[in-house]
Symmetry: C2
Subunit: 345 residues, 2 copies
Amino acid sequence: MSQCLSVALDCMGGDYAPQEIVKGGILAAKDLGFKVFLVGDEAKITSLLKSEGELANPLLEVVHAEGVIGMHEPPSNVLRKKSSSLHVAGRLVREGRADALVSAGNTGAVLAVGKFIVGAQELVERPSIGVALPNPKGKTVLIDVGANVDSKPKHLVQFAIIGHTYAQEILGIENPRVGILSIGEEEGKGNELVKETYPLLKETGLNFLGNAEGRDIYSGKFDVIVCDGFVGNVVLKTSESLGLTVVQMIKEEIKKSFIAKLGAVLMMPAFNRFKKKADFSEYGGIPLLGAKKPVIITHGRANAKAIRNAIRVAGEFISHEFNRKLMENIERFTPEVKRTTVGSG
Amino acid sequence: MSQCLSVALDCMGGDYAPQEIVKGGILAAKDLGFKVFLVGDEAKITSLLKSEGELANPLLEVVHAEGVIGMHEPPSNVLRKKSSSLHVAGRLVREGRADALVSAGNTGAVLAVGKFIVGAQELVERPSIGVALPNPKGKTVLIDVGANVDSKPKHLVQFAIIGHTYAQEILGIENPRVGILSIGEEEGKGNELVKETYPLLKETGLNFLGNAEGRDIYSGKFDVIVCDGFVGNVVLKTSESLGLTVVQMIKEEIKKSFIAKLGAVLMMPAFNRFKKKADFSEYGGIPLLGAKKPVIITHGRANAKAIRNAIRVAGEFISHEFNRKLMENIERFTPEVKRTTVGSG
């Protein structure tokens, strides 16, 4: 029993907390054999465990915490609210009692706990968020999508190495094709940050193909696309919203015709299969890459299954020895040039 | 006849040049009463006019030019290639013979001609590209989508005023709701550029609602969203590509089932109506806003109808006195503060 992986699960964050979160923790213990620290209001969690008949499960341990960081609360509050479920869960990881952190709570607050309580992995300057976006042929990792803004060239180089490691070790992509997000294909196109980062990426020894454009994010031409967290976050949120808008606009048009309504009904199973492929929650959350231990941020709307998947993903980072390989890659690919410190601002 | 509006039409740029471009020019002359300068290879254009039976149309005037800027050529080449169709068309506008420029050619090259040959309108520091994106309730102007990178706060303030003028005068939106693209709703969220621009926008007197997120671009919550051209270009190209990817992935799923195929056939008319709403080419191209005279950049794939629509749009900018109103708005809304010159770089 001492060998099993353990996860600190913030049971109070997210739209369906604590019910769905606790249920997800139970699934992870039962299906995956994880030791799960259920962090939050002890009375509520215990009552849920009781009604699920899991009070005696030795893999489930309740850790009491008072309070929660609200979904619209300033994320930095979490660093002051030391008794909040998220802070307590973060400390369990920091202190080595848990091997990973999973939360469906306030994304910014989870990030803050990942960066400042769990802390950055050795050699990593800025932990960053990589998201594996679907394309017709597979997945493309976009990194960073919001952990850092106003990044410097040396940070983008690290994002590339982190993204490469994620694509190779977790997504199983051999020799990932790496690009830098820009606004033209040729070298020399882009803003100052891109122009300064491009030559550094050429020196890394990564499989660097050059500039990627917005249209390449979903084309499958690249396995890893590097960008500043401001741009990446805007792209990610635009994508989610555009998908919803397209569906809504098509629905409006379908409403206008009985035949179209019938067609929509017949298409539903195919459409649902597509939705499943495109749905982030199926992937079990988004990892903060480069933290000392895996930190998985799930969607606020995460249900029990999404939480279970997020815990499974955390386990993959551990069993694939992601952090050890990341350190090796940083040592291998970081260009030994002083230019990396001559950033754009 | 001297009263009619005139347009310099680059007949050699675009995937379907010169045939579709010349046909589009003919439509504009016949349907809209425009005087059209058909700029390009005289022999080819004359032969097309002849086969269309329009050689004697007094509204159509061929202006010979040698050579064309290739779609993948470095855009700056156009400034050296003075005999190219795009350069000659630009000069017709600069010299006052034509009231507007329309081209389906190399986007960067059209931009360069707009900025450096047609030139910026008085008081405008950086002409910028605004695109009216569809949302379920109407349109949202995203500005700038690629005319400028590494913009400073004072430039974003001008983009806001230009976008406001576009939304109000051309799209007919009363008191447009203006936002700045960022990665969080609250004031203080974002990168340095956003944080410095925010207080300036509050002082403009525009109907400024604060930060917009990626998800707001297609939500209809804002009428104008301001951003640096790097971010805007990435968002625009991502959107186009995501649309195509979604359609392709849905098609793959539909192929797997006969019933779904039948459903798709029944839905087709509704789907085509949606596509028409979402299709940029239906809008007749994207304007470079803040140039001395209207410059309309159409998609490289523009057909005759798209060219005709682009010429119609150019005419609207003139008949709505866009430039006069833009100057009034710049005088009215620009904050008289020195802070505007203390940029981020």
